[in-house]
């Protein structure tokens, strides 16, 4: 075992590990959660919610979408302008709290 071999092994480990970190979240999707099931215990958790959407605010650096999955309504906040001509979508994000109300800090909409 010499320095060059160590470098190669380390390189392979880095590549496999990084590939897994990138691909696993894509391959293993999140199961949808119902809005009525969300509680303060879910703060910080990454969730996926599917439902009817309504744009409430649409600016250059802020978009607020209200999503209704039939069990309740919740606001999803994007810190960018979102363009979507759909009435139904899946929103993925992190559960957070704003002015006492649960909301989703969204990272993706499909």
């Amino acid at each position: 075992m010499n320095e060059r071999t160590l470098f190669w092994i380390a390189g392979v480990c880095s590549t496999i590990g990084l590939a897994a970190i990138i691909l696993l979240p894509l391959v293993i999707g999140l199961a949808d959660i119902k809005i009525s099931e969300l509680t303060d215990d879910d703060l910080g958790k990454k969730v996926s919610i599917t439902g009817d959407i309504k744009f409430k605010v649409q600016k250059d650096s802020l978009t607020i979408i209200e999503i209704n999955d039939g069990t309740g309504k919740i606001e999803a906040v994007f810190f960018e302008r979102i363009f979507l001509k759909k009435e139904k979508a899946t929103i993925i994000g992190v559960v957070s709290k704003y002015k006492g109300n649960l909301q989703i800090k969204a990272s993706d909409i499909r």
């Binding site: 160590l6 470098f7 990084l18 970190i21 990138i22 993925i92 992190v94 990272s107």
Partner: protein
């Protein structure tokens, strides 16, 4: 793109923090993981999963780059204490680069084996822990007795074990944030720094190129470290340094070089096996995992898998950086003003402890440092200072309450 970067960015941040903190002598990974959980974890920009990836990447990267200050500056963490003596002997012979490469080999193979064996480790914890939970206190007592019987300075080692144990019991009862921070930093970090400052240590000029590492120097020690590292994360209170001492008995005629590989691999195996322990039995066995527990609560199989791969990637990247940095540092290490470096780090650590644990923490740090200095000056094996954790854990599992 956002989904793709969701875990990559925290991974990069965590690995970078781990590489930097690993290079700073006296800074334990518990400190960095507490800081990440306390400051980054609360701002809501990352999910719990992302914070967990950040912390574990930091922990693994730290355990690898930590080989540099452990060996080149003579500042080992509690986990690396057992490899400190042979490493420092090699450093004083001008073969510091050999010691660093041996340590890096150990930590890298420890990472690979621990990640590869994760499914079996989870199964082992799930099945074995609840079967023998009732006997853990007695197992710890037997192992401690074996360790004491093997010490050359038996009475002094026992006294240090008991003394630090009493300190640990008192510290855990204090109303203080992050009690482990000033306790372990004082015992193993600042004490060594103060000792180095007093002794005005100097480092001789070093060879530039490392010798090839033979198969019997890394293969068997790596596999033994896997078994012993899992055992160490299974038994609370017993750290990698004590397990290294026991593990060396499992290899006939282990050389000093093989011992360095074993001891280095153990600390990383212990950390990664800790993920499996946390998933399987819901118990955190290290400060890093405890910080993750504080953010996520219990983790899922998916979280465990992601953290395992993050550990692998962090291990690989940190290894590459460490080899590169070690080769650069080896040519200038003899020029370093050691006293100024020690003093700067002591002051930095005191500030961190004051900010996180307050004045009480500072008092604990000074007390623990004093005990650490006594241990070093009397040449009592430093791993006995792990009594600060072993004794409280032993009493807990034997059902002895001191409240």
């Amino acid at each position: 793109m956002a989904i793709v970067m969701e875990l990559v960015l925290p991974f990069i941040i965590g690995t970078a923090i781990g590489i930097i903190t690993g290079l700073l002598p006296g800074i334990h990974s518990n400190l960095a993981s507490s800081a990440i959980a306390a400051y980054i974890g609360l701002d809501g920009n990352f999910s719990n999963e992302a914070i967990a990836v950040m912390i574990i990447s930091m922990g693994v990267a730290h355990s690898i780059t930590d080989n540099i200050p452990s060996i080149l500056l003579g500042m080992p963490d509690a986990e690396k204490i057992m490899s400190a003596l042979p490493s420092q002997r090699m450093l004083l012979e001008g073969k510091g680069i050999d010691a660093v490469m041996l340590s890096i080999t150990g930590t890298l193979f420890g990472t690979i084996l621990a990640v590869a064996m994760m499914p079996i480790t989870v199964l082992f914890f799930s099945v074995a822990y609840f079967q023998i939970k009732w006997a853990i206190g007695y197992i710890l007592l037997v192992l401690l007795t074996i360790l004491m019987m093997n010490e050359k300075k038996k009475m002094q080692s026992l006294l240090i074990l008991i003394f630090t144990g009493i300190l640990g019991i008192f510290v855990f009862r204090l109303n203080m944030k992050e009690p482990l921070l000033p306790l372990l930093t004082g015992l193993f970090g600042t004490s060594a720094l103060i000792f180095g400052l007093i002794n005005r240590n100097t480092i001789p000029k070093q060879h530039h190129n490392a010798c090839e590492i033979k198969k019997d120097e890394w293969l068997k020690p790596s596999f033994v470290s896997l078994v012993m590292g899992i055992l160490s994360s299974f038994l609370p209170g017993l750290g990698p340094s004590q397990i290294a001492s026991l593990g060396s008995k499992a290899i006939k005629k282990i050389t000093e070089r093989g011992y360095i590989v074993l001891s280095s691999a153990l600390s990383t195996v212990n950390l990664i096996a800790g993920i499996a322990a946390f998933y399987a039995i819901g118990k955190s066995r290290s400060g890093v995992i405890a910080a993750i527990e504080g953010i996520t609560g219990n983790i899922s199989l998916y979280d465990t898998t992601i953290m395992a791969f993050a550990s692998l990637a962090a291990g690989g990247i940190a290894t590459i950086f460490t080899i590169y940095l070690a080769k650069r540092m080896i040519s200038i290490i003899h020029k370093v003003n050691y006293s100024k470096l020690c003093l700067s780090i002591i002051l930095f650590v005191m500030l961190i402890v004051l900010l996180i644990s307050g004045l009480t923490g500072l008092m604990v740090l000074l007390t623990a440092s004093a005990i650490g200095i006594i241990t070093i000056t009397k040449e009592i094996p430093r791993q006995n200072m792990m009594g600060c954790l072993i004794l409280p854990v032993l009493l807990f599992f034997m059902g002895i309450s001191l409240s």
